[in-house]
Subunit: 457 residues, 2 copies
């Protein structure tokens, strides 16, 4: 009999981990719900025809494929069965795959239910996804995504709401963050200003690297792409030096007749106008370099990072912990064009790691069982059973040591389980007496039921 083990890149979650994760998920859920987002859930298994062609070549290699049930080779021709034919054989013997993200299933859901949904449709979805990533520390093959999207309206109200949701979730989690905001149309405008609209992808990818390679190296790379001195100066001043506020930037685009850049500024202004009466708990920063890996965004682009200027958060080394933005045509790939949407996603695993490192999980989320009832014989075990019923009826989580045993053994069990209290049930001259023992302070007092309920509630 071999020792059992886990699939590499997957994890068991202990009770403490489940409690911590729930604290994060519940916080996100609470804010999503307050903002009128409704939950949906989609299946783990999707047809490969739904998943194929959606994630690029690299992504597609990472989709877990599920072997057809039964005699999966029966319809395969012998000439297809050669050791060098994995790629061609796979679609024939594995027609189902595991959910790779929540976006494609959401698009499929919207298309399949378009006649029943009221648009704009605001949905949130907190479910695991699977990716056959190369095995390395801190990279998981099964992890949760926590997405919310509003689809079927181009109203910028939703961008403003998403910024509020980001702010409020991290405020509840007591983590100070910087919320970065950009607009894809400003990036388009920058490339036009630089006289190189055709080089959009390369320019933006290069600017996006500034964090890693430094601004000077970025400017050299851009120069090597053939950008004019004037273009380089514009990018340096606007993106890196942050020399201009939004009205000045708008004037620059106007002077240069860069319509799309102007539109990007207008959209940002409209989002900020909604928020003028709102007090952010975190920093909101305009960042004209923000591109989020050139994903499918067409308007707003948002990203959250830990604010490492705060004293107790300096130690955190972590990339973005949430992000989102406006996209068009998410559902076009399934035959429903012209649906504009905007979405946000919280990186639960990274948030988990940060909160753990900063010791920000409240103790209360870990202390689920309030007390162990200790007993010494049949009579006190029966009394414990009945007392547990009364305490549980008050929604207090209670455990009973399941058999009479020595006090020491039962206290050790409570200690190993990190329980805050034990209640010692003793029989004295036929009367049951309760002692409440605080496991942290060690104090112990005789107590009646009423006070016991109050102490444990």
């Amino acid at each position: 009999m071999s020792k059992p083990s886990l699939v590499a890149g997957t994890r068991d979650f202990s009770p403490a981990d489940v409690a911590r994760r729930r604290y994060i998920f519940d916080t996100i859920t609470r804010i999503y719900a307050q903002f009128g987002y409704l939950p949906i859930e989609t299946p783990t298994l999707e047809k490969m025809s739904t998943l194929t062609g959606k994630y690029g070549n690299e992504g597609e290699q990472l989709i877990y494929k599920v072997l057809n049930s039964g005699d999966f080779l029966s319809k395969i021709k012998p000439e297809q069965l050669t050791p060098d034919n994995s790629n061609n054989l796979s679609p024939l013997i594995a027609e189902k795959g595991l959910r790779y993200d929540l976006t494609v299933p959401f698009a499929r859901y919207v298309v399949m239910n378009q006649n029943d949904l009221a648009f704009p449709f605001k949905r949130y979805q907190i479910q695991p996804v699977w990716r056959a990533e190369r095995n390395q520390a801190g990279r998981y093959r099964e992890f949760y995504q926590c997405d919310a999207d509003a689809i079927g309206s181009d109203s910028l109200l939703y961008e403003a709401e998403i910024l509020q949701m980001l702010d409020q979730v991290f405020n509840l989690l007591k983590l100070k963050v910087i919320i970065r905001l950009n607009n894809r149309k400003i990036l388009d405008g920058l490339c036009q200003l630089a006289g190189a609209p055709d080089l959009f992808a390369q320019i933006v990818a290069t600017i996006d690297k500034a964090d890693k390679i430094g601004q000077e190296a970025v400017l050299i790379e851009l120069k090597n792409m053939g950008l004019s001195e004037q273009g380089l100066t514009a990018i340096q001043e606007i993106v890196f030096d942050k020399k201009y506020n939004l009205s000045e930037l708008k004037a620059i685009f106007e002077t240069a007749n860069v319509e799309i850049g102007k539109k990007g500024v207008d959209e940002l202004n409209a989002v900020l106008a909604f928020l003028r009466g709102y007090n952010f708990s975190n920093s909101l920063e305009l960042d004209f370099s923000l591109a989020r890996g050139l994903s499918y965004y067409t308007g707003a682009i948002m990203e959250v990072v830990v604010d490492t200027s705060i004293d107790n958060q300096k130690s955190i080394k972590m990339g973005s912990i949430s992000g989102g933005g406006r996209y068009d045509n998410l559902t076009a790939v399934f035959g429903l064009p012209n649906m504009s949407g905007v979405g946000v996603s919280f990186g639960a695993d990274r948030i988990f790691d940060v909160l753990l490192q900063l010791n920000l999980f409240p103790d209360s989320c870990l202390q689920t069982v309030k007390a162990l009832l200790v007993n010494f014989d049949e009579a006190t075990l029966q009394a414990a059973f009945e007392l547990a019923g009364k305490l549980r009826a008050q929604n207090i989580a209670i455990d009973i040591y399941p058999k009479p045993a020595k006090l020491k053994k039962q206290l050790e069990y409570a200690q190993k389980r990190n329980l805050p209290f034990v209640v010692i049930c003793e029989a004295k001259e036929g009367v049951i007496n309760y002692q409440l023992k605080n496991m942290q302070t060690g104090t112990q007092e005789s107590i009646n039921l009423e006070n016991l309920i109050a102490a444990l509630s």
Copy 2:
């Protein structure tokens, strides 16, 4: 572009379905937590070596196998690649599988974490499992299991607690049920009484069919197995006629010197002794025919069915909706012997169908968004945005119509979404005025913020 569709046997869950399912899961979770059970979660992907040999031949065929990533054929010899070789090829090209139940992963978890866990260890686990069942109506290939197990103690206290948990969950769900209780040792004793201990599996499987084929047919089958007249009479009187109470049954076993039957009665008596002061909301019935398909139970066997003697529940046609029992050696298969445990499992999908049919889901679980804020121009949209912030801060779920539009259009949107209220934001001589409209009664009244918060809370 083909129309997207779901994998057969899988489901999307709409917001209303998610809300209803959460109502069930939350109720079960609440009771599990009150009784001191702690949550764990295990990965969706398990090694096939963990899953193989645990579910019998039939079950094993139903495990979803996940194709190895990358060039999965590269190490396969050409002679293994023949169309008739599915069964032999599968373990070579698919070394991972999807979770088939929660019991085997739990056993694996206990074995892998045995040095860190405090025993007895009480865990609950609410996660989906996957089975490649034949496609048929009402049978799902992805469905949730809701298990709780106490492992590492043979105390019968846990059986008593499980009966309480079953009673309390269904009491909270407002469904009247019958909780059936038996003990495997009584079934063993019955076979000894009938002089045929070797025929245990056949006898019990036959008795288990009484619901379907009738008692007479069962007795004929048993006679054909070679049971004596005396044995048949014993089974008829004890199992079908329920002629004896527990003390009489114990006396019968004593007279016949059937030690194991006596032990079964003693165990049942001990469980019932714990419960003598507990008022069941549902019926608890001893049922000496209960075997639950001869699973691995060694002591108590429990099963819950809908009580169709209740007037408004007569229409329900449904098998067991929950079950459980005591087992030994769950973890032996992974190298940890002598761990006795007892578990319970709620059949969430069946409970869902029953509650839906009986209209037992509370309206409150569906009304998540309380009001839509209606607006007519930039000023009232801005006012709505700010009002939403104040209401959401009170944890009231609020939605805003995202753009100024005609009242009719916005009311239709609220109606289609089944929202209980709309708040009409109007500007009158520069002052914003709020009207609260009850969408059910149609009444509408001018209201200030304070009263609005009270009305929507």
